[in-house]
Amino acid sequence: MSSVSDVIVRPPSAPAPAPSPSYLEDGHTLRSWLTTHDHKRIAILYAISITVFFFIGGLAATVIRLELATPAGDLVSHDTYNKLFTAHGVIMVWLFLIPSIPSVFGNFLIPLMIGAKDLAFPRLNLLSWYLYVAGGAIVLAALALGGVDTGWTFYAPYATMFSNSWVALTLVGVFVVGFSSILTGLNFIVTVHTLRAPGLGWFKLPLFVWAHYATAIILVLATPVLAITTLLVVAERLLQIGVFDPAHGGDPLLFQHLFWFYSHPAVYIMVLPAMGVVSEIVPCFARKRIFGYRFMAYAILGIASIGFLVWGHHMFVSGQSLAASLVFSLLSFLVAVPSAIKVFNWTATLYKGSIRFDAPMLYALGFVGLFTIGGLTGLFVASLALDVHLTDTYFVVAHFHYIMVGGSVMAYFGALHFWWPKATGRMYPELWGRIAAVLIFVGFNLTFFPQFLLGLRGMPRRYHAYPPEFHQLHMASSMGAVVLALGYLLPLVYFAYSLRATCRTSANPFGALGLEWQTRSPPPTHNFDRPPTVPEHVYDYATPTKAEPARTPAAQATSP
């Protein structure tokens, strides 16, 4: 029986106290949405805009894979192709992956998970979204005006001196989006420090909160370096002043150091929240405490801190000194240790559990498998001698897509399915959810595994046309991309379908722990009707004698 249909029959003389509206019903005008201070509404705003950018970036990828299905560059021109992979990277990194889990799920859930009414700075939160949209609009404007062809990494001196495209405008957009990131991170840190419910000590926090806290630290410390780097590139382009121009005494390698100082921690911004999501889903569907909670929390901090020290592993063949390469390689191996710990701990959580394979769990398990492969291939490129051959080839492309897509995007979809009932009060159709999860998993591997082999054979990155010996593997990858695309399109359909009134669900259809499940679905604007109770252990799914909550009748009725 859904919470919203709580009808109490009273005599007409005493009208029933109306339950406070859910955050979705609390104001129906567009204005109420665009001027909201409610972290949950802001999360929805982010979700919509992020989805738009995801599909635009995905469109670019579709054209890319279509072009690469054959060796000749015959679908689009060289310049167009170069602009396509740049657009794909810029949009997917800055307008999708970096904000995705933090700005949607972090925003929605952190106050709920710590028993607070909102984030520490609600208006700053809204500003973050507006900055994100403004920056995104600027990037789209640059695309509409003709695009940028520098690659998302916009290396000097090509980007500063030789590109004839909308570099400066795009980077202004990136600069603006960067401030959105910084403010979100700032908000999360202050929130976690100051707004936790009493009794909610650090080691009672869900790992989702730990992950976002660490991510927020990276956001506030790394993004400013991106900001100054984009500023210097824009200045060099517009004013021809040469900080990176060797002819003026500048150093192209300085650009790379500044760029990667941000962009390596950036990948941890993309993956740590995903790990936080997985750490919520796995215990719930295995009905068991997460294995090694403390090590998991320390591992998160370890990844965030060591992650700041490894940026030079993107520069092993750049001409940087041998000593620098040695240090960065060693540190890159070290940062793999906490990631390995997390994989082992998720796996061990399954041991002697009581596992259900609902869609969120399929995504979470998919994450663990694909992140493992992605992470292990990271060891290859951390190895100095191996990286000499593998860097700048499709091996690296496959490596980072395994982590970012096989990892982060799968976790994002897992989070979508897991918290959809909480956010909307509706349940998605479970069968279709599982079908999409499997399609995405299979399609992903079909698309990206061949790319490891391509890179091994020497296929360089960012090539519009390629020699014929790479044809078979590229064809295989492009065919896999069709399956993957299908998998991504399915949820659009069934999530929309699930918003119908007949798909109503209960406050806690999965029987999950976590304070967010103690309030209604969808929650009221102020989050909790009654103060939530903080459990003794955050993942106390322990004993088999605890009754496992059945799926609600309403939800079951809608499963096809």
């Binding site: 310049d79 290396y155 060797p246 519009h464």
Partner: protein
């Protein structure tokens, strides 16, 4: 694509046979990593599958007893750490070798520009997008770019090095198989990045010598450099007979130089290049900073020729080191 001939194919879908002296070690390390990482990946995936089946809901399991986890956690922290350190050392050792070209390596000057490779052998013979080399003989490339950053990549050799404007970077190899091998540009450099292909042609030494000697009569790189040395006026100051007090450049490469600001450096190709283009950067102690700059008057090939000439005047042992 630049008229590249059919490249000899070997290996199936994934494997590309190695053709340089470092390739076997590379393949060994790679194979070991695949074995190791494959085992771990398989292990994790099998564990997940096994647990998913064995412990699925409704399968009936015993009470999960109190878990003594500390020992396991320490074990699977320390073990990967130890393995990673071994891997790091192994890969680092192989990597360092790439920075130690043998003293007898044949020098080849390379200039990359959008979107082609220009190469010049010691005797002056030039090539565009092709590099002929003898089998079994170390070859050392001295590379710079005229514009954006490029990257010299020969997959069959398992070697790659970025080519950067404003400085020299180096790459050395010994080809161990006859044939033709693809050369790619591996750093995105603009419109025709994917067209910046070439090939390395490995020939038997005798054939290489013949090839090198054929082609249009032209001065060797060092001879051309000597001609420039005079025509640009370098000899006017740097020859012993000159009335201008300027450092002698005989055997300059590899020599220790004391600079005006107190630093001491070993003169390498980058130092010579900087001295020609930005002479006031590293002034030698005891000399007035009166040398004019030749920026704009000399091309990258000219500088490489001047360096070849200076190298021919004798180099100390350290002068054969790779510039980075």
């Amino acid at each position: 694509m630049n008229g590249v001939a059919d490249i000899a194919r070997d290996g199936g879908v994934a494997w590309l046979g190695g053709a340089s002296s470092v390739a076997p070690r590379w393949d060994l390390l790679f194979g070991a990593m695949v074995l190791l990482c494959g085992t771990v990946a398989l292990g994790v995936c099998i564990a997940i599958l096994a647990f998913s089946i064995r412990y699925r809901a409704g399968a009936g399991r015993g009470e999960p007893g109190p878990q003594r986890t500390r020992a396991i956690e320490i074990a699977w922290t320390a073990t990967p750490l130890a393995i990673f350190i071994v891997l790091f050392v192994w890969a680092a050792h192989d990597f360092v070798e790439l920075y130690r070209p043998p003293a007898d390596a044949l020098p080849v000057a390379v200039v990359a520009k959008q979107w082609m490779w220009k190469l010049q052998h010691r005797n002056g013979r030039r090539e565009i997008n092709e590099l002929h080399v003898p089998l079994g003989q170390p070859v050392r490339l001295l590379m710079t770019s005229q514009d954006a950053i490029h990257s010299f990549f020969v997959p069959a050799f398992r070697l790659k090095q970025d080519v950067v404007p404003g400085r020299y970077t180096g790459l050395w190899f010994t080809a161990t198989k006859l044939g033709e091998f693809r050369l790619f540009c591996a750093e995105y450099c603009g419109t025709d990045h994917s067209q910046m292909l070439g090939r390395i042609v490995v020939m038997p030494p005798a054939e290489y010598t013949r090839w090198l000697g054929s082609g249009n009569e032209q001065p060797s790189l060092a001879q051309y450099g000597f001609a420039l040395f005079r025509s640009l006026g370098c000899s006017g100051c740097h020859e012993p007979a000159s009335t201008v007090h300027a450092p002698s450049l005989d055997g300059i490469l590899g020599r220790t130089v004391h600079l005006q600001d107190g630093r001491t450096i070993v003169a390498d190709e980058n130092y010579v290049r900087d001295s020609i283009l930005v002479p006031r950067k590293d002034v030698v102690a005891g000399f007035a900073p009166v040398m004019p700059s030749f920026a704009g008057q000399v091309s990258e090939e000219d500088i490489e020729a001047l360096i070849a000439y200076l190298r021919s005047t004798g180099a100390t042992a350290a002068g054969a080191g790779a510039p980075r």
